[in-house]
Subunit: 192 residues, 2 copies
Amino acid sequence: MSADTRAPRERMVYAAAQHLRRAGVGGTGLRQVVVDADAPRGSLQHYFPGGKDQLVAEALDWSGTWAAARVEEHVSRMRRPTPSRLFKAVVGDWAADLEAREFARGCPVAAAVVDCADTNETVRHAAETALETWRRPITDALVAMGRPRRRAESLSTLMLCALEGAILLSRAGRDTAPLRLVARELAPVLDA
Amino acid sequence: MSADTRAPRERMVYAAAQHLRRAGVGGTGLRQVVVDADAPRGSLQHYFPGGKDQLVAEALDWSGTWAAARVEEHVSRMRRPTPSRLFKAVVGDWAADLEAREFARGCPVAAAVVDCADTNETVRHAAETALETWRRPITDALVAMGRPRRRAESLSTLMLCALEGAILLSRAGRDTAPLRLVARELAPVLDA
DNA sequence: CTCCGACTATGACAGCTGTCATAGTCGGAT
DNA sequence: ATCCGACTATGACAGCTGTCATAGTCGGAG
C-alpha cells in the first residue's frame, strides 16, 4: 500500500490518479505529481513520451482496473449476493473514503470527463474505457445473480450513474447522505 | 437569447458559465471569458473585485437560478404532472442539449465540484447553493403532487444524483443512452 | 576495459495564468 | 464649466504550465 513498494513508473501513475481526484485535470501539475510520487522529473519524458495526455490516460486506466478488482472482491466475499447488496458495498466504499479524506477526493473519471470531454479526445476515450472496465464485473455479477444479460447491462449503468452523481452531491455538501440515499432508494429497482 | 441584449456584466457571468461547462474551472481563462462575452477586459476588476472566485461563484449562482426556472416552466406546462414526467422533462432538456452541442458542454456545478471541492471553499459553497436552488422547485413540485415533504426531499435528491451521473456517462460515451435509461428506470420509484 | 542502453538530472523555453497599477474616457449632475 | 463617479483601456508583473534539449550517471553485457 505504501508508495515506496511500487516501481517508480507505477508510483507516478498512482500519484497522477490521486491528484486528478483532488483537483481535476487542469489542476494537476506534472511537477507536483512527480514530487508526490517521489520520482525523478526526468523520468516523465522517459516513461511517458506522450506527455500529460498519456499520464492522465494511464491514471484513468489504472483507476478503472482498480475499481473493477474492488467490485470482484465484494462479489466474492458475499455469501448471498444480490444486486442491491453489491451496490451498497460499492457505495459504502465511497462513503468511507470520502469521510476519511474529508471529501477531498472524488472520482478520477468524473474529473477527466468534466475537464476534457470536449478538449482532449485521448483523455475522453480513456475515461470511457475506464468506465467500461469498471462496469463489466458489475454486469457479470448481476448475470451470475440470474439477471438476463441485457437487463444486467442496464442495471450496472444505472448503478454507476447514481453513484457518480451521489459522489458529486456528497462532495458539494460535505455530507455522505446522497450516497446512502441512492443505495436505499435504488435497492427495490435493482432487486426487482 | 443573443448575448448582445444583456448588460455587459451579465454577459460575462453567462460566458463564464458556458466556459465552465466545457472545460471546467481550471480550463477557464479569464481573458477568454472576456472575449466570449464581448466585454472589455477592464470591466473584470470593476465588476468582479473578488477575482476569478467571484466570477465563477456568480456563474454557478446564475446557472442554479436558470435551472430552477426551467423546472418551474416544465411544472407549469404539465397538465397531469407526476414525478416521473417531471424527471423525464428535465432529462430530456439535457439530452437535447448534449446532442445539439455534440457533448461539448456538461453541468457547470459538476465542473466546479470536481475541480474545486477541496481547493476553493468559495466555489464549493457556491456549487452547494446552486444545487439547492435547483432542487428546491423540484421538491416543491413533488409536494404539490401529494408527496410528503420528507419524501419529496429524498426523491429530488435522487433525481439530481441520477441526472448528474447520467450526464457524465453520456459525455464519456458520446451517447445519451444513460440519460434515457435513468429516466426509464427511475420512473417506478418516483411514482410509487 | 568498453560500450550501450536504461534511466536520471537540470536548465531553458514560450505560453499562459490571475492580478494589479495606472491612466484614460465618458455622461451627467451641480 | 467643473467635478465626480462609473466604466474602460492597457501594460506589466510574478508564477506556473507542459515540453524539450542536453548532458550526466550507472549497471551489466561483450
